[in-house]
Amino acid sequence: MEALLAIAVGVLTACGVFLILRARTFPVLLGLTLLSYAVNLFLFASGRLRLDAPPLLRAGASYTDPLPQALVLTAIVIGFGMTAYLAMLALRGLAESGSDHVDAGKEQ
């Protein structure tokens, strides 16, 4: 199971990085999304993969590590904030330069 997760993280990262290096804004947004999936999974995995042990206190149960979950939860929401910000930046850039190239309007 762990190896599968590692593969997932690796592939998500590779594809995210490749897309981030594209020249248009939209693939960069997609790449960032993929990259944040990868990072969130990685952070989450630092608490190890445990089945049926949610950190909800009940009598006699065992629990997985809640701390990485708390970190990842805020990371997901902040990730949304970042994507939204970049999306608006992309639109603004499009309006100003008339192109969706990431380097549009650069000083030559």
Binding site: T13, L21, V72, T74
Partner: protein
């Protein structure tokens, strides 16, 4: 009031009130000047009650913890030395305030000038009142910065900007050296507090790091006090308005360096190295600058070099390293401040009246302004060391010290001869100033017709010259007690026997004084051949050399920058990622070697299926990224798999959040997609493609490998605490939620603040933006003209209350069950956004009263307010409370204050999502209206 509170109030008042003149300048120039004077007077008034104890030789301390972990605390100290400097700073400051009101042009409203002057004064007070050396350094840097602003006060003048920049560069570099020196000194002494450091002199001098410490600290002191070879900034800083020069360049800022020498004398002085470095630099500066002063044609230039020379004299006295030489140095600090401030003010009067300061043109002023001339001549006499004036006394003490210093045994007459030579040069340049400006025939081609200045412009000079005379005639009665107190605290030991008197009998110092007076007059008489000789010397170009270095540094920085920064995001990203890959690889391969063991749990069919779906989505999106809609759908599939992964591995909260965020993200991206132009992106070059592929493979492979290693490593966690304390300490069974809103509530507060900024940024970025969407999508299909599908519109309306109920339920149960502010907020906002989608923005906007800024403020205030609410109960910020409540019907309800915090989170999240999405959606509304207009 207790004395430590009073002491702390002095710099506190100065810093708190420094902007007062700026605020009051709209009531006129006089209000600004009065405000500045009032602040200084208030500081003096606060000082008065502390005065008797400081004069009696007591050291008064005030302690306020600031950053105790770094040894940086607000520890203040008032002793004789600090008192002496406080009086100079405030006394001369008051005179400068009065003088500047008359000096600066009537068009200047003065608020800015006085505010910077007060800021500088506050920082100077901080320097002389600091007990903690790190604190001293902070104030020291503020003096550098505020003096930069003062020197460049006439910022429209090129010369003023250059002068200010040079002063800042030199003193700023010195400040860095000083920081390093202070850190070393604190390390050796074990504390940054002066009380400890001054008592540890023996240990410091014996330490292996004594030499570097001393050199670094001296670099700070010498740059500030313009000692050779760092002197060149001071003449260039003469572009400052003259009141600034009178204040900074005579009495205060340039004295900060020698103040530091005095302050640290017991800790650093008393070694061979100290003598050679301090004494040597002082002696060189003394003679070199005195010679340079003689050849200046600008009055302020002459005064600047004479200041450098006199500072060299003070430095040399500290270098001589005897108790009496320290007394003489302190005495000369007082005298120099008094006569040099008055001379600068007189130079300002001449400049103000004549419109020029060139001594080749300004002549014969005695007839035009006899009173000012008399005053200036007296002050110049003091500078030259003419008997009956204060400068004579300290210069004579200096001569006496060169003869009686212990170094006399080894160096013989070299030092006294050197001193006499310097004395001669001082007499010569003082003579030049007096003779050239006030006599020497008629003025030549002056821009203005000079006459006596206004009464109040002359008043500060009169007062200072009166002081020159009083100190010169009755030294024991006027400065005796102040000097004794300052010397006592500087030496931190027994006070040497000294007698301040005009006449000690005919001895070597008197002979030296006579020689200097006579020799000086002769040197001045022989000035014609001297000037001719000087004119054929190769010019000394400290300033040009400095400028060349500066330009070279700037241009090489620009070259490096141009190499890295070509304004291409692709380049930046590639560089950053390569660096990360390199760094990660280096860390990985230099760490302890461990083989990869395939760990743990067996994979089941569901996991394999999930992975395959994820791979399909990820790789598909990457390969088909040009088909935007398809790629977006594929990415959303990946997001769902990630959410399911969270669910599978015991993280229901994460799964809920991921589902909700996924929905929001897809809507967001669809909206963006609508506006993007149809694609015509050229294919990337093969080189670019292979570079990107390589980077992607390295990054992906690396992170995958690290993940595997991490999962195989033994598991240690600090979460036991959270699991144990969640119920008793936080009152919640959902540990993740309790961590978010309680244990790590401060982090969460920061995070929702960031989110709130995103909402505000959306306003800034999208406000008034008009973006016409292309008529076709990427594949050449026209957008559907059909308004909002009836089916969707009808379905969405009843869905809204249902969805809102669910989100309230999620919010309320979040403390115990999966849910909470983040998830509930996302669910609510998606439900609201669906109204926009279903019915159109024209329908939804007016029905959803929406004030983003107010809502954001409400959310943040709720979250922060519940944190502050713990203060009245004497608990730290964000301490939560919880308890049980018996309600009718509902029975036992557990309430925690953290739930209010969660409500704040909820409000912020809803507002952010709604603002961003409706903001982008709103673009279409504007585009439509602008289309209709045209």
């Amino acid at each position: 009031m207790n004395s430590s509170l009073l002491l702390a109030a002095i710099p506190a008042t100065a810093f708190a009130a420094f902007s007062l003149p700026l605020l009051l300048q709209r009531y006129g120039r006089a209000s600004a000047a009065l405000a500045a004077a009032a602040v200084m007077a208030a500081c003096l008034a606060l000082l008065l009650p502390l005065l008797p104890a400081a004069l009696a030789g007591h050291t008064q301390l005030a302690h306020l913890a600031w950053l105790p972990a770094y040894g940086l605390d607000l520890h203040l100290r008032l002793d004789g030395l600090g008192l002496l400097f406080c009086l100079l700073i405030l006394g001369i400051g008051l005179l400068v305030v009065l003088y500047a009101a008359w000096y600066l042009p009537k068009s200047d409203r003065l608020g800015r000038f006085y505010s910077i002057l007060l800021l500088f004064m506050a920082a100077m007070l901080g320097v002389v009142l600091s007990e903690n050396l790190l604190l001293l350094l902070i104030f020291w840097e503020i003096t550098s910065l505020s003096s930069f602003l003062l020197v460049a006060y006439h910022s429209d003048q090129y010369e003023a900007r250059i002068g200010a920049r040079m002063a800042l560069a030199v003193t700023g570099a010195g400040g860095l050296a000083l920081l390093a020196g202070i850190l070393l000194l604190g390390g050796i002494a074990g504390s940054f507090d002066l009380s400890v450091i001054l008592a540890a002199g023996e240990r410091i001098r014996a330490h292996a790091l004594y030499a570097p410490t001393l050199i670094l600290i001296l670099l700070g002191a010498f740059t500030k006090s313009a000692q050779f070879p760092f002197h060149f900034w001071l003449p260039n800083a003469m572009t400052a308005p003259t009141p600034v020069s009178a204040y900074l360049h005579s009495a205060t800022m340039v004295k900060a360096g020698v103040f530091l020498l005095a302050r640290l004398y017991p800790a650093l002085g008393g070694s061979e190295l100290w003598f050679w470095l301090v004494g040597g630099s002082g002696a060189l500066t003394l003679v070199y600058a005195a010679a340079m002063a003689l050849f200046r044609n600008d009055i302020k230039g002459l005064l600047a070099y004479s200041t450098i020379s006199q500072l060299g004299l003070i430095t040399l006295l500290f270098g001589l390293d005897t108790p009496l030489s320290v007394v003489a140095a302190l005495f000369h600090i007082i005298n120099h401040a008094i006569f040099k401030a008055s001379l600068f003010m007189a130079a300002g009067v001449i400049d103000h009246e004549c419109g020029t300061r060139d001594m080749r043109r300004v002549n014969g002023m005695f007839r035009v302004m006899p009173i000012t001339a008399t005053l200036a001549i007296l002050a110049a006499g003091s500078m030259a060391g003419v008997p009956l004036l204060n400068g004579f006394l300290s210069k004579e003490m200096f001569f006496a010290e060169t003869v009686s210093a212990p170094q006399f045994a080894t160096l013989g007459w070299a030092l006294p001869l050197f001193a006499t030579l310097a004395g001669m040069l001082a007499v010569a340049y003082s003579s030049r100033f007096v003779h050239d400006v006030f006599f020497n025939g008629e003025a030549i081609d002056l821009p203005r017709q000079p006459h006596e200045p206004p009464r109040w412009m002359r008043a500060p000079i009169e007062l200072l010259v009166l002081l020159c005379l009083l100190v010169g005639l009755f030294p024991g009665w006027t400065v005796g007690p102040w000097l004794a107190a300052a010397a006592l605290s500087t030496l931190q030991g027994p006070l040497p026997e000294f007698e301040l008197a005009l006449w000690h009998g005919f001895n070597q110092p008197v002979l030296m004084s006579l020689l200097a007076l006579a020799g000086g007059v002769i040197v001045y008489a022989l000035r014609a051949p001297l000037f001719a000789w000087q004119a054929q010397l190769p010019p000394m170009h400290a300033r040009t050399a400095f400028e060349r270095c500066y330009r070279q540094l700037a241009s090489s920085a620009r070259q490096i920058l141009a190499m890295l920064d070509n304004a291409s995001l692709q380049r930046y990203n590639a560089l950053l990622l390569s660096f990360v890959v390199l760094l990660g690889g280096w860390a990985y391969f230099s760490g302890p070697a461990s083989g990869i063991r395939l760990p743990g749990q067996p994979a089941d069919e569901a996991a394999v299926a999930a992975l395959l779906t994820l791979l399909l989505g990820t790789l598909g999106a990457t390969l088909l990224y040009r088909q935007r809609l398809l790629a977006l759908l594929l990415v959303s599939v990946v997001g769902l798999v990630v959410a399911l992964t969270f669910l599978r591995f015991s993280a229901p909260d994460l799964a809920l959040t991921q589902f909700a965020v996924e929905t929001g993200t897809i809507i967001l991206m669809l909206l963006v997609l609508y506006y993007l132009p149809p694609q015509s992106a050229p294919k990337s070059s093969a080189r670019r493609l292979s570079r990107d592929l390589l980077l992607a493979l390295l990054a992906g492979g690396g992170l995958g490998l690290i993940t595997l290693q991490m999962l195989a490593a033994p598991f240690e966690t600090i979460s036991g605490f959270y699991l144990q304390q969640s119920l008793p300490g936080g009152g919640g069974a959902n540990v993740v939620n309790v961590i978010l809103v309680d244990f790590r509530g401060f982090d969460t507060l920061g995070e929702i603040t960031v989110l709130a900024m995103v909402a505000l940024a959306s306003h800034a970025l999208l406000d008034r933006l008009v973006l016409i969407a292309p008529a076709q999508d990427g594949d050449g299909r026209r957008w559907s003209e059909e308004a909002h599908p009836l089916f969707l519109a009808m379905l969405m309306r009843p869905l809204l209350p249902l969805a809102l109920t669910v989100s309230v339920y999620l919010l309320l149960r979040g403390h115990h069950q999966p849910g909470g502010g983040f998830v509930a907020g996302l669910v609510s906002s998606v439900a609201l956004i669906m109204q926009y989608l279903g019915n159109g923005i024209a329908f939804a906007q007016p029905r959803l009263p929406h004030h983003p800024a107010r809502l954001l403020a409400l959310g943040l205030l709720l979250a922060a307010g519940i944190g502050v609410a713990s203060w009245p109960f004497a608990r730290p910020f964000l301490t939560s409370a919880h308890g049980h409540l018996q309600l009718p019907l509902l029975g036992d309800v557990e309430l925690a204050s953290a739930m209010v915090f969660d409500l704040g989170v909820y409000i912020v999240v809803v507002t952010v999502v709604l603002t961003v999405l409706s903001g982008i959606g709103g673009l279409s509304l504007r585009a439509r209206s602008s289309r209709e207009k045209s």
